[in-house]
């Protein structure tokens, strides 16, 4: 109730200001809760670069420095205010924080969440509180495949394509492969990634044989036995959805033993460790970025702007989670502004933003994004893989292949698991 | 008095700790309503005997009967419920509860109304300490409270393990007077372990003299204390040898 009133009054205020011409300093901003991991294992690889992405967007959008079609200040002329929340602490903590943001901090909408568990838990709460919520990173397809949502959007692709794409790339690059192996963390992310990869690979090349599937627990840290087991089983290709400290630890331990030189390794989140030269990635390692993000983002004016703005402000390269955050914020902006236009130039209410967001196609630094699944609430995008090659001490990518969304994502109404099982047909 | 009834009967009890015999062969009958004093040097087997009777230790050999039922090796709580209770050389109290709450807890376990707690404290002349925490009471009071807890269940047999050890010698007789008054009133069969021969002489009907895990002599106090072997092995020559044994006990209590 009070929320609706707030929105309407904000809308009226915005409309009056809009009539007066330029945005003014005392205008009530659009308040957005930004939720990313600031502690725990997912902070370093995902949470921190994503938050940096949000910080860059906030400054650039409020200064009106983003290129067209995003050149208006904030959202439709109204400046933005971000409230940053740490995503750690578990679902119970996150549900509490989400309610606090809405009930007490009075945010207008929420953008965030890397953990699939958190996304699953937040979605019904967002519905209950009628709060527009955009997921920027979490991978599980269950969000829109198991449930329908009205207030929840995911303007980035879900995780199925990461591993389907990985399987396709493996087959493309090694058409005569006979064996495969995997090392994934023993929790939902690792289990789902492995299931999708193995399922897709078996569809593409039914005669491949598994040598060993290692599932150490999250944060195990010591992988020497697993590395021995993988090397002893001598597979043609190795799949891993490791990330963050676990991924770096695996590579550090594999390096002096030559595992990754010996066995080409697919790292589905590998892009996150390509930036700061902490770790030498062996030639031949197959790197993914969970979409056309980061190093695989296509050349465009938007991409150049984002990369430069990010480098200026953060003093480093944007990683794929930074891109996904930027894409989510810009998608929301696109929906907001479309809704505003549909509303005769007045600030839209939540329902109007939702109507505009559903099925929207927008551009981002990572290229074109279509809200094609989940009744227009779930984006699809291409997936990109490339092979690492160190040239003069600099990491480059060769054999970069882009798989369009139609090939790597199930069509509307089909569950990812069934789609893979049934041959990934369209 | 009518024909004495044997209430507790121990047959050939043996208990060994490693190479040491704590009890070699203890056979004894305890008559109903008697008060027995258990004497003997340290390590003679008195406390082991008490511990076996109350189920803390299981004898390696032999049998214990109580009122015609065998109770050998039964756990303490069962033996307690059958009617044999005890006090301890180091009082076993609930130190963070008040004296009153100590007794109430005991009453609760036994299933008696808690209101009786004050009467029981009064009976032991402990009423002034009712609201004091048991952990900070003086040793003599703790000893009495320990016995009060043992009496809550209306036992038929009460075993007292050194009721006056650690108590100032001037208070000894006062404490024993109180205890024995209650014991006699309640017509409880009692046994007490004691090093002070004067206390034994004054309060027991019968004396069991332990030596090296066996009973050296048993009988009326005067009789046993005149026994040659008892004099030689346990009491030593009157008055001189009783003291060191006692001092040893106090030392033992200090760090246990």
């Amino acid at each position: 109730m009070s929320y609706q009133i707030k929105i309407v009054s904000a809308a009226v205020a915005t409309a009056l200001l809009a009539l007066g011409g330029t945005a003014q300093a005392d205008e009530k901003p659009v308040k957005v809760g930004i939720v990313t991991f600031m502690s725990g294992a997912a902070a370093g690889p995902f949470g921190v670069p994503a938050r940096h992405g949000a910080e860059v967007l906030l400054e650039e959008l409020n200064a009106g420095k983003v290129p067209a079609p995003y050149d208006s200040v904030g959202f439709g002329g109204t400046p933005l205010e971000f409230v940053y929340i740490d995503e750690s602490g578990g679902t119970s903590q996150q549900v509490t924080e989400f309610r606090n943001m809405v009930d007490r901090a009075g945010v207008d909408m929420v953008i965030g969440y890397t953990s699939s568990g958190n996304c699953l838990a937040i979605a019904p709460v967002a519905e209950e509180l009628k709060t527009l919520t955009m997921f920027y990173d979490c991978g599980t397809p269950r969000i829109f495949e198991d449930d329908e949502h009205h207030y929840v959007f995911r303007p980035v692709a879900h995780g199925t394509m990461d591993n389907v794409g990985a399987a396709m790339y493996a087959v493309d690059q090694k058409p005569d492969m006979k064996t495969y192996a995997g090392i994934n963390q023993n929790y939902a992310w690792g289990q789902d990634s492995w299931r999708d990869f193995e399922g897709a690979l078996k569809q593409l090349k039914p005669d491949v044989k598994l040598t060993t599937s290692q599932m150490p627990k999250l944060g195990a840290g010591q992988y020497n036995a697993e590395i021995s087991a993988i090397m002893a089983s001598n597979p043609d290709i190795l799949h891993s959805s490791f990330y963050g400290g676990d991924l770096e630890g695996l590579i550090v331990q594999a390096q002096p033993r030559g595992m990754m030189e010996h066995v080409p390794t697919i790292l589905t989140t590998g892009e996150t460790i390509t930036h700061d030269n902490k770790i030498k990635i062996p030639d031949g390692t197959i790197i993914g970025a969970r979409g056309p993000h980061g190093v695989f983002a296509p050349d465009s004016e938007l991409n150049t702007w984002f990369r430069n703005a990010y480098q200026d402000q953060i003093k480093g390269d944007p990683w794929y989670p930074s891109y996904k955050m930027a894409q989510t914020i810009l998608g929301t902006k696109a929906a907001y502004e479309k809704a505003k236009a549909d509303n005769g130039g007045q600030a839209p209410n939540t329902e109007q933003i939702i109507a505009a967001f559903e099925g929207l196609t927008f551009v981002a630094p990572s290229g074109e994004v279509k809200m094609a699944l989940g009744n227009g609430h779930q984006a699809v995008q291409e997936v990109v893989y490339g092979t690492a090659r160190n040239v003069d001490g600099k990491l480059t990518f060769e054999n970069v292949k882009r798989y369009p969304s139609e090939v790597v994502t199930p069509p509307e109404g089909v569950k990812s698991e069934d789609w893979i099982k049934n041959g990934m047909k369209h | 008095m009518s024909e004495p009834v044997v209430l507790v009967s121990a047959r050939n009890l043996r208990k060994q700790f490693g190479a040491v015999f704590a009890a070699r062969d203890i056979t004894v009958d305890i008559h109903a309503h008697s008060v027995s004093g258990l004497i003997g040097t340290n390590g003679a087997g008195k406390t082991t005997f008490v511990n076996m009777l109350t189920g803390y230790l299981k004898p390696d050999q032999g049998q214990i009967f109580f009122d015609g039922h065998e109770i050998t090796g039964r756990p303490p709580r069962e033996i307690t419920r059958m009617g044999i209770t005890r006090s301890f050389q180091i009082p076993q109290l609930f130190d963070s509860l008040t004296a009153l709450e100590n007794v109430e807890t005991a009453l609760g376990i036994v299933g008696k109304p808690l209101e009786q707690a004050e009467e029981i404290l009064a009976r032991f002349e402990l009423t002034p300490f009712a609201d004091a925490l048991a952990g900070i009471l003086p040793e003599g009071v703790r000893k009495l409270l320990d016995i009060a807890l043992a009496m809550v269940a209306d036992p038929r047999v009460l075993l007292l393990d050194e009721p006056t050890s650690g108590v100032d010698s001037s208070e000894k007789f006062e404490i024993m007077d109180r205890i024995m008054k209650i014991v006699r009133e309640a017509e409880v069969t009692a046994m007490f372990v004691e090093h002070d021969m004067e206390v034994v002489r004054r309060y027991s009907d019968r004396v069991l003299a332990f030596y090296d895990g066996s009973i050296l002599a048993a009988g009326a106090p005067e009789e046993v204390m005149r026994d040659e072997k008892v004099l030689e092995y346990i009491i030593g020559r009157p008055l001189q040898a009783g003291r060191p044994a006692q001092a040893q006990v106090v030392q033992e209590g200090a760090h246990a």
Partner: protein, 298 residues
């Protein structure tokens, strides 16, 4: 084939590492009867100090072989400073409390130290992998093992044997055994128990920090690395028997070999939880494999 020797080597190396990270925990428990939940945080801190020292050294283009010395130094300095601070600043006030209250106290210390680490070093991982590969490697067929593993193995053996000899042969070691056996008696004998506690806690802290420092080159140093370590160290010493040095060694070998053989032979049968092993051992032998029974006095 390759599998059996690989499984044994992996198991032993993992066991050596486990022992190294667990020995401080069992030492502290043995002497002080404190199960130090903050042990993992000491490990983390050692790893961070090492990462800082070595990172600085390598950035300066100095002789990389000295970085091994820096690892050692990081463990000793990190453990010493933290151990003294925690023992003198916090733990000492709680010695009169129950064992279980002390468990909560160390849990609180664990929570505090986790945040302290984040405040000092942030959440982004540090990688200082150069010392790991620098010593070359040996191989069995296809399988290459970095020689750095011998550094861990050596440190484990040295700390274990060293401690055992110290307890057995030296005068302070013998006195320490008295403290372990009976705190009250040793106080009555005039042994300065407080000082032995400080020294023991600091020694345990140094061992934990050293474990972290020596592990640092093989991992990515992140704030949460200690959580897994405390779990493993815990399991190792519970299985072996709390406070027992040979118990810790046996526990480490059991956990190490079981894990290694599971990884090599039954990866599809998910490695049963280490907690299950722990529970089974406690059910069968309620005090662990090597613990001395405590006499009860009445």
């Amino acid at each position: 084939m390759l599998m059996l020797p690989a499984a044994i080597i992996d198991g032993i190396m993992y066991a050596a590492w486990l022992f190294l990270v667990a020995v401080g925990l069992t030492l502290i428990y043995g002497v002080m009867k404190i199960l130090n939940l903050a042990h993992g945080a000491f490990y983390t801190l050692g790893a961070y100090v090492a990462a800082t020292f070595v990172g600085f050294w390598l950035a300066g283009d100095y002789n990389p072989y000295y970085s091994y010395l820096l690892l050692l130094l990081a463990g000793v300095i990190g453990g010493l400073v933290l151990g003294v601070l925690v023992e003198r600043g916090i733990l000492r006030r709680f010695y009169k409390e129950d064992q279980v209250v002390l468990l909560l106290v160390t849990y609180a210390i664990f929570l505090i130290l986790e945040d302290v680490v984040k405040m000092i070093w942030g959440v982004e991982p540090y990688v200082i992998s150069q010392p790991y590969g620098l010593l070359g490697s040996f191989n069995i067929g296809l399988l290459y093992y970095p020689n750095y593993n011998f550094v861990i193995l050596g440190a484990a053996i040295l700390s274990g044997v060293g401690l055992a000899l110290f307890l057995k042969l030296t005068r302070p070691g013998k006195l320490l055994r008295v403290v372990i056996h009976d705190r009250e008696i040793s106080m009555a004998l005039g042994i300065n128990v407080q000082r032995y506690f400080l020294v023991t806690f600091v020694a345990g802290s140094i061992l934990a920090a050293l474990g972290g420092a020596l592990t640092a080159p093989t991992i990515s140093v992140a704030p949460e690395i200690g959580v897994e370590v405390i779990v493993l160290a815990f399991a190792v010493i519970v299985i072996g028997g709390l406070g027992s040095l040979p118990g810790a060694a046996l526990g480490a070998l059991i956990v190490g070999l079981v894990r290694s053989f599971a990884v090599h032979y039954f990866p599809e049968v998910e490695l049963f939880s280490i907690y299950a092993v722990m529970a089974v051992v406690l059910i069968v032998r309620p005090m662990g494999l090597f613990a001395a029974a405590e006499p009860r006095k009445i």
